[in-house]
C-alpha cells in the first residue's frame, strides 16, 4: 500500500462516502423526514435543516456524564456506533457500482457492522445507570433478536438467488437481469427486509426501545449535549446505510443514466433511491401505532420469518 492509497483511504473514510458525506445526507434526509411527517399530520413541521440546527445546538451544550454511569462505556458507545457506521459506508456502493473498499464476502461484514450501533446503544443504556435506560436496553435486545433474524434470512434469500455474497456481484447481476424487486419469487423476502429495516431504524410501529411515553427515551435517557448529538448523527447515518444496502440489494444499486444528451451521475440515482426508501419508512411510521415488545417479537418470528422462508423455498424449488 503506497502513500497515495493511504491518503485515498483516509479521504474515503472521513469525507466521501464516509463520515462527512453520510452525516450531511443523513441529517438532511431526517430533516426531510420530519418535514414530510409534519405535512402528513396536516401541520407545517420543522424546516428541513432543523437536524443541523439541533446538531449545532447540542454540540455547544455542556457535556454531562452521570455519576452513576460507567464512564468509559458510556462515553465510548456513541463513538463506536458512529465509527462502525462510517466503516459501513465504505463498503456500500455510493458513487458507482464499486464500493470504496472491496471485500470478497462484504455482505457478511455489512450485516455485522450494522449491528454494532444497536449493540453500543444497548451498552450505553446499561452503563448509564438509569432504570429507564436499562428497561429500554432490555427491550432493544429483544427487538434485535426479532428483526435481525428476519433481516439476515431475507438477505440470505437474495444471496442464494444470485449465488454470491458480494454486493458488487449482486449489482452487476441486476444490471444484466433487471432489478431483483421485479422478481416475484423474491417479493416476500423484500417485504420482510423492509419490515426488518423498519425495526432496525427504530421507527414506528417498532420504536419500542425508545418509546417516549413509557420509558422516556430508552437507552438514550441519560445522554445529553455532544454525546446525544453523536447519537443522533449515528442514527441518521444508520438510516442512510440501511437504505443504501437495500438499494444495492434489490433496486439495482447506483447506476448512471443518460437522458438525451444529459448525463445523470450514479450519485444522483443513489440519492433518489435511498430517498424513496426513507420516505417509505416515513409513511409507514405515520400510519401505525407502536406495538408492544412481545407483539413485535411474535410478529417478526411468525410473519417476518414466514415471508422470508416462503421466498427462500420459492428461490430454491422453482427453477
Amino acid at each position: 500500500m503506497n502513500f497515495l492509497e493511504i491518503l485515498q483511504f483516509i479521504y474515503n473514510s472521513l469525507v466521501f462516502p464516509g463520515l462527512l458525506f453520510a452525516s450531511v445526507i443523513g441529517l438532511l434526509y431526517i430533516g426531510i423526514d420530519r418535514k414530510v411527517t409534519g405535512h402528513l399530520q396536516h401541520r407545517i413541521g420543522p424546516p428541513i435543516w432543523q437536524e443541523f440546527l439541533d446538531f449545532g445546538k447540542l454540540m455547544t451544550k455542556e457535556d454531562i456524564t452521570p455519576a452513576a454511569a460507567i464512564k468509559p462505556v458510556f462515553v465510548g458507545a456513541p463513538l463506536l456506533a458512529l465509527g462502525s457506521l462510517a466503516a459501513v459506508m465504505l463498503l456500500l456502493p455510493v458513487a458507482s457500482a464499486q464500493p470504496s473498499l472491496r471485500l470478497t464476502a462484504d455482505i457478511i461484514v455489512i450485516i455485522y457492522l450494522l449491528n454494532i450501533p444497536a449493540i453500543s446503544m444497548i451498552l450505553g443504556g446499561y452503563s448509564s445507570g438509569s432504570p429507564f435506560a436499562i428497561a429500554g436496553a432490555g427491550r432493544y435486545i429483544v427487538q434485535l433478536l426479532g428483526y435481525e433474524f428476519v433481516f439476515i434470512l431475507s438477505i440470505a434469500t437474495i444471496a442464494v438467488k444470485v449465488g454470491t455474497l458480494n454486493l458488487t456481484d449482486i449489482i452487476s447481476y441486476q444490471t444484466a437481469n433487471g432489478w431483483l424487486l421485479l422478481d416475484w419469487k423474491l417479493l416476500p423476502a423484500i417485504v420482510a427486509t423492509l419490515i426488518a429495516a423498519q425495526g432496525k431504524l427504530l421507527r414506528a410501529p417498532f420504536d419500542i426501545p425508545e418509546a417516549e411515553t413509557e420509558i422516556v427515551a430508552g437507552p438514550l435517557t441519560e445522554y445529553s449535549g455532544p454525546k446525544l448529538a453523536i447519537w443522533r448523527t449515528a442514527y441518521n447515518v444508520e438510516t442512510i446505510a440501511v437504505a443504501a444496502l437495500l438499494v444495492s440489494l434489490f433496486l439495482g444499486g447506483p447506476t448512471p443514466y443518460t437522458f438525451g444528451n444529459i448525463q445523470i451521475p450514479a450519485i444522483v440515482d443513489f440519492l433518489i433511491k435511498t430517498f424513496l426508501i426513507v420516505m417509505l419508512t416515513t409513511v409507514v411510521r405515520n400510519i401505525v401505532a407502536r406495538v408492544r415488545i412481545d407483539q413485535a417479537l411474535k410478529f417478526y418470528w411468525t410473519f417476518g420469518v414466514l415471508l422470508a422462508v416462503i421466498s427462500m423455498i420459492l428461490v430454491m424449488v422453482v427453477p
Binding site: 414530510v36 396536516h42 401541520r43
Partner: protein
C-alpha cells in the same frame, strides 16, 4: 393502518391546518373577552368594578381617581365590564399584549 393512509396522503397535498400565527392575524369571535379598556372620562366613581372583581385586580389611581386594572392578576372574566353602569370598562378583542407591561 390502511384506513388512515388515504387521509394521511391527502393531508400531504392539502394546505397545512396550522395558522402561521404571528404572520397571519387571527380575529377572535365577537364578544371575545380580551384586554379590558378603561375610558377615564366616563367614570362616575361608583367602584362597582372593584366589588365585582374576583381577583382584586382593580385599584384606584391616586391622581386621576379612576380604576386601574393590574393585568397580571386579571383573569379576563369580564365581571367588571358587566358591573360598570356607564361602560367605562369594556372588554376589547385585543389579546396581543403579552409583550407589553402596563401598570
Amino acid at each position: 393502518m390502511v384506513k388512515i393512509l388515504p387521509k394521511v396522503l391527502a393531508n400531504l397535498l392539502r394546505k397545512p391546518f396550522t395558522v402561521k400565527y404571528p404572520y397571519e392575524k387571527v380575529e377572535p369571535a365577537d364578544g371575545y373577552r380580551g384586554k379590558p379598556s378603561i375610558t377615564k372620562e366616563k367614570c362616575i366613581r361608583c367602584w362597582q368594578c372593584i366589588r365585582a372583581c374576583p381577583d382584586r385586580a382593580i385599584s384606584i389611581d391616586k391622581e386621576t381617581k379612576t380604576p386601574v386594572i393590574w393585568l397580571g392578576r386579571c383573569t379576563y372574566c369580564g365581571e367588571c365590564a358587566e358591573a360598570c353602569p356607564t361602560k367605562t370598562i369594556v372588554m376589547t378583542k385585543n389579546f396581543e399584549f403579552l409583550d407589553q407591561y402596563e401598570k
